[in-house]
């Protein structure tokens, strides 16, 4: 039997330029309503003139292994899919926003139609063997879809020997998004 998939992302911030192509690609792929988005770009600058550093990040739902949104969802709408992603069952969602409060990553919004929406890791695409809309559009290949159940997955090798972090690990969420820090020197 084929091994259970376990999807997540490796995001190489060394190359991300914060262009937001991922945001627009997601919006058109997933018909995200005007004024909302499922992914977003953060440009973080540190230091004082002239010693500055920058990290650009394309952020989204972290598809946590221990997802507070799933824990706190009273109706079971937020749930773990078999492929390791976190999904929302719209028909079971009452829009109570417990998950919005629980999510440490601010990854969710209430859709004008009343249910809670967020990044699905383009489940409709990955089920067909395609990459997510954001991964496939990204001009810098900063975004990489990874199946963590496959130890030979190409994108995993990207992290070798580099400073890699996960966001808010102290929250105990075990997020499935891994970030290659912009502090890494080129070509490491």
């Amino acid at each position: 039997m084929a091994k259970q998939k376990n999807y997540g992302m490796v995001i190489d911030t060394r190359v991300c330029v914060g262009c937001s192509a991922c945001v627009y690609a997601c919006k058109s792929e997933n018909s995200v309503p005007e004024g909302y988005c499922r992914d977003w770009v953060v440009q973080e600058t540190n230091g004082t003139y002239p010693r500055l550093s920058m990290e650009n990040r394309s952020e989204r739902c972290q598809h946590c292994e221990k997802a507070p949104c799933v824990t706190y969802c009273p109706t079971g709408a937020s749930h773990y899919a078999e492929d390791g992603t976190v999904q929302v069952n719209r028909s079971r969602c009452t829009g109570c926003k417990a998950c919005l409060a629980a999510c440490p990553y601010d990854a969710r919004y209430v859709h004008p139609e009343g249910y809670v929406d967020k990044c699905s890791l383009c489940k409709h695409r990955i089920d067909q063997g395609l990459e997510t809309a954001c991964v496939s559009v990204c001009p810098t290949k900063s975004l990489n879809l990874v199946d963590f159940s496959d130890p030979d997955h190409e994108a995993l090798a990207l992290m070798n020997g580099k400073e890699v972090y996960r966001q808010k690990e102290h929250a105990g969420t075990r997020p499935s998004l891994y970030w290659i820090s912009a502090r890494n020197k080129p070509g490491v």
Binding site: Y24, A25, S31, P33, T48, V137, P139, T140, P186
Partner: protein
């Protein structure tokens, strides 16, 4: 409104919203389309993908437009097209915001005066074409063909060029020549005998070290180059960026050097000085392949790192370190030629200095160095016989390009000749002249007021359409064929096809049909009966066909060999056949044969030099009103970037809105948001160009941020090639009452 003075002849007209797309019954449908939930047209239940190329910037990436229920719901990068390589920038994905823009021009319009009031009225195509042809014909009869000029930007202009040339008119000007492609092209021509290229001829992904001077890759999302920079970084590319502002690219750099604006040539001379005095240059390459080394050495001898440090604000040790690194990594190292290269009057020389730095380290046709990408070798089309022109090149500048047929003069010369009464009619294709740098807004409107007849072909009611006598609504690039794209040399040479994804909406028409209708009325034979026949004939000559190329949108050649072989003799199409460190063309025309540094004026007390750039999700006019792209808060308006110390001096706080006032007293029509940031020097401010639109019919773009073009009142002309610099404009702040 106060965007012009004494607008008597040519009052700016507010196009009634009755003539725009959004007022039609379409508006609700469009609303639904943009939010993605619509189902207005026939549902065939399947997704259709059409491969074409983008028109949101000049790069012209390949796109794949996905159609569902008769509507384009998303646009992705074409996997077949070498420039997109399956990926796309935000602007490319934003095509759906353009085609379904409710503000689109829906009908031909004719300006008319009734009871002292000037308005537009809806016209039929036949009427608008007949009227336009009659006016152009009469102007040509009365004043000769030199009284008509076409100003253009974008790839659809070719049919109009053919139409005009057959009519005997060949005054063409593309504003981007003036401040972007002109100096870059000519500077490289004079030095290497070929263009710097688009994509630029730098083997970025294989390079170990690249120096950038103010080039904003990442903020200007030139897809292929950004892809290569990212790949380069993964492979170990080190970057150094000279820029008064900590750009996104500077954020990727090993070293950011916050150079004082206007001192690049001093820095480049100092880098040459170090390469030469420390014997770091490639002596054999220079001896075999260049001329003018002694002259160059004599000129840069005075520019020691210490002297350059005083001029540029970059410490001498840093200058030495950069020069040594550049030499150490060469030949897998390069100085990038950049884009939008005309900042002052010496842009051509600045580009030449970049070309010379590359030549000194012998990186030509070396992995990671300067390369010459090849174009697809397309058999020539049917020869066309035009009437004899009085001149092939109309520019008065001695070194104006003579090999770019889309430019026969600089656009500021069109303005000047209009002021002088020589040019009487403007045909404006796809370029929003008042908001496009060249001489700034005020002077452009002064020139517009002198025009007897102005035709605007566009998809949206831009500022320029408000001054037009006739507005001809073109359909967008997603609804039409254009000429084949043969123009982009790259690793894999290609020909690309633009083809309609969906039928033209409203009463808009493709440029090829508009040009053909005009040609017919003018009685000239310029174009094939239909565009498909024309494209098929051309492609058949190349051994393919329209039907074949429609499948993938491209015709590909084998990847070219970019690198020179050991012992290979290099030849260059310069007068000497060598790389000209000292340019014989510049010298013959009476200019400095080697680049010299000229000091630029400092800002008046309390004023700051205005630097410009762009945001990755917008391309100025093309995308200004794009609701889809403007949805992100980061895209919606421009900000004025200011260093915290300067902000304190003017008591400005982050996030407040101020008006800007330039050195000539021009006050920005709209306020702009203050961004207090460490990311800029204390003597300069930065704003993204292309905001602050004053045309209310651009419902989304109107009043968003401040217009950079409005604040340009001082320009300097590069007397060699006729380019225009505009960075000696300064602003101060007027706080909101």
């Amino acid at each position: 409104m106060s965007h012009g003075q004494d607008l008597n002849r040519r009052d700016f007209i507010k196009i009634s919203s009755l003539f725009l797309a959004g007022s039609a019954a379409m508006s609700t449908q469009i609303g639904r389309t943009i939010s993605g939930g619509g189902n207005a047209l026939a549902d065939d239940g399947r997704e259709r993908v059409v491969h074409s190329f983008c028109e949101h910037c000049f790069w012209r990436c390949g796109i794949a437009a996905h159609v569902r229920d008769g509507k384009i719901y998303k646009i992705t990068g074409s996997e077949h097209h070498p420039l997109s390589n399956g990926r796309l920038c935000p602007r490319g994905t934003g095509g759906i915001g353009q085609i379904y823009d409710p503000d689109r021009l829906a009908h031909p319009l004719i300006r008319e005066k009734k009871g002292g009031k000037t308005t537009y009225r809806k016209a039929s195509w036949d009427e608008a074409i007949t009227y336009t042809a009659e006016k152009l014909y009469k102007i040509k009869e009365a004043y000769g063909p030199q009284a008509i000029a076409m100003l253009h930007h974008g790839y659809g202009y070719t049919f109009f060029k053919e139409m005009f040339k057959s009519f005997g008119v060949n005054k063409f000007a593309k504003p981007s020549y003036d401040f972007c492609c002109g100096p870059r092209h000519q500077g490289y021509m004079f030095t290497y005998g070929h263009s710097a290229g688009t994509p630029e001829g730098v083997d970025i992904q294989n390079s170990k070290y690249i120096l950038f001077f103010g080039t904003h890759y990442g903020e200007n999302m030139h897809n292929t180059a950004v892809q290569e920079i990212a790949e380069g970084i993964r492979r170990g590319l080190k970057i150094a960026v000279f820029d008064p502002r900590f750009s996104t690219l500077a954020g990727k750099a090993e070293k950011w050097l916050p150079i004082k604006a206007g001192t690049d040539i001093a820095m480049m001379q100092a880098l040459m000085n170090v390469l030469i005095t420390e014997n770091l240059y490639d002596k054999q390459f220079v001896a075999e392949n260049t001329i003018g080394f002694d002259e160059l050495r004599a000129e840069v001898a005075q520019m020691t790192p210490e002297k350059a440090a005083e001029i540029t604000d970059i410490p001498a040790d840093d200058i030495r370190e950069i020069a040594r690194n550049f030499a150490r990594y060469a030949p897998a190292a390069a100085v990038h030629p950049g884009r939008r290269t005309q900042w002052y009057a010496d842009g051509t020389q600045r580009v030449r200095a970049i070309a010379i730095l590359n030549a000194l380290v012998g990186n030509y046709k070396m992995p990671g160095g300067v390369v010459k990408y090849e174009k697809y070798k397309m058999p020539k089309g049917e020869p066309h016989h035009y009437p004899e022109f009085e001149k092939e090149v109309w520019s008065k500048y001695p070194l104006f390009t003579d090999i770019k047929p889309e430019n026969t003069m600089a656009s500021h010369e069109v303005m000047q000749q209009t002021m002088d009464g020589v040019i009487k009619a403007w045909f404006v294709y796809g370029v929003n002249v008042p908001e496009t740098i060249t001489l700034g807004r005020r002077k452009t409107i002064e020139a517009i007021n002198k025009v007897d007849f102005l035709v605007a072909v566009d998809t949206l009611p831009m500022e320029v359409t408000g001054y037009a006598d006739v507005v001809l609504p073109e359909c967008t690039y997603l609804e039409r064929y254009d000429d084949l794209d043969l123009g982009r040399p790259y690793r894999t040479p290609f020909v690309a096809l633009r083809q309609p994804v969906v039928e033209p909406m409203f009463d808009s028409k493709p440029g090829n049909q508009i040009a053909r209708m005009l040609a017919d009325k003018l009685g000239v034979h310029a174009l094939e009966d239909d565009v498909e026949t024309y494209l098929d004939k051309r492609l058949k000559k190349a051994g393919s066909s329209l039907a074949e190329v429609k499948k993938t949108g491209v015709l590909l050649a084998e990847p070219t060999d970019l690198y020179r072989k050991p012992g290979e003799t290099l030849t260059f199409k310069t007068p000497s056949g060598k790389i000209e460190l000292a340019s014989s063309k510049m010298r013959e025309a009476g200019f400095d044969a080697v680049p010299k540094y000229t000091k630029q004026p400092d800002a008046p007390e309390g004023f700051y030099r205005v630097l410009t750039g762009r945001k990755p999700m917008l391309t100025f006019g093309r995308t200004a009103n794009n609701r889809f792209l403007n949805e992100l808060p980061t895209a919606r308006e421009n900000e004025i970037w200011i260093n915290p110390q300067a902000a304190e001096k003017h008591q400005l706080s982050h996030g407040e809105y101020v008006h800007l006032k330039n050195q000539a007293g021009i006050v920005s029509e709209f306020p702009i948001k203050v961004k207090v940031t460490e990311r800029i020097r204390q003597d300069a401010v930065y704003m993204v160009h292309g905001y602050g639109h004053y045309f209310k019919k651009l419902k989304w773009a109107y009043r968003k941020g401040a217009s950079h073009n409005q604040l340009i009142s001082d320009t300097e002309v590069d007397e060699s090639i006729g380019a225009v610099g505009f960075q000696n404009n300064f602003v101060t702040f007027i706080k909101e009452a």
